[in-house]
Symmetry: C2
Subunit: 212 residues, 2 copies
Amino acid sequence: MWMAELSARSGFSVPTIKYYLREGLLPAGEATGATRAAYDDSHVRRLRLIRALTEVAGLRLETVRQVLHGIDHAGSWHEAVGSAHTRLGASADDDPPPTQASLARVDGMLARQRWQLEPGHPQAVQLARALDALDGVGHPVSDRLLDLYAAAMRPIAAHEVLSVLEIADTDVEASVEAAVVGTLLQEPLLLGIRRIAQENVSRRLEEESAGR
Amino acid sequence: MWMAELSARSGFSVPTIKYYLREGLLPAGEATGATRAAYDDSHVRRLRLIRALTEVAGLRLETVRQVLHGIDHAGSWHEAVGSAHTRLGASADDDPPPTQASLARVDGMLARQRWQLEPGHPQAVQLARALDALDGVGHPVSDRLLDLYAAAMRPIAAHEVLSVLEIADTDVEASVEAAVVGTLLQEPLLLGIRRIAQENVSRRLEEESAGR
């Protein structure tokens, strides 16, 4: 397809698409002349992914570039997903390092769950920082809560990983995209459902106490 | 305590505390003269909550004001938490309304879980919008995933609500604060643990497939 059709199908303006081409976020089309290039479905899909990462997940363009680079240069599906996850979890360099106490609590949770993570993995650092933030506002959480969260996330993660892995047999890139998009864009679902569940627990408790 | 001690104990500068007093985010101290007022632990706690909501949860001051108003004017604990949750979930007025199809899917999930939510509740609207966002990027999720999320959030919500309710017998305000802070600031924990779980599922699947 030509640029005009790519624009129509992706919903991006021609200048924006040209900007992504110049920035290397979108691979060049197949040159069919001095000033013309042909694009295909992979370009439409890549633009959809860029839209998801920028507009819906709210990532900065530099982070989007790193996520796309991870997808494009991975040796295996696990590596591609891992690389994307690592970059999604990376925080700004000027964030303060987490306390040793919180890092040790994260290690403890990993050991109890028999989960592995390379030492200094960004996800472990992020988690330790989140524990520090709760300590800092005087609302520390228990190890029991961490274990409850881990137990709850186990079947969810298995379902999520298996469903994107199903696509991998036919289309590795689409599968990694689904993993990255799923990780990010399904977060609001999980959090929204948690709040609705909390509201219903709270309502039931109040009804029970009113009925007493 | 005087203003200087309130500043030292809360970590906020005197001008910032005076700003929150003028804006009505912080209740006035007890006047002890024409220009002096005495503050107590409730002021320290309120300032800690403001810090948590602004700096850690990233809420705008106007939203913080609404959350605090909900806490201060609630008739019951359930109402206070519900009011805070509702405001936390409220999105900008200029966000487009969700599709009827997604609202119907949210209603379906609520019915299957025997959960109740007032019609048009912001949490239901937010959830429907999140479904629309996933549809829009070509990654729709199944009702089965929603049910999996709901099943996973059930024990978590029960544990979370019961642990903040324990405080309510002695200090209602602290309990509502703990509910709001817990809802917001524990989100990064849950999401971080989900990513670590995904990474471990993915790693185990790769090891199994390499071992074949």
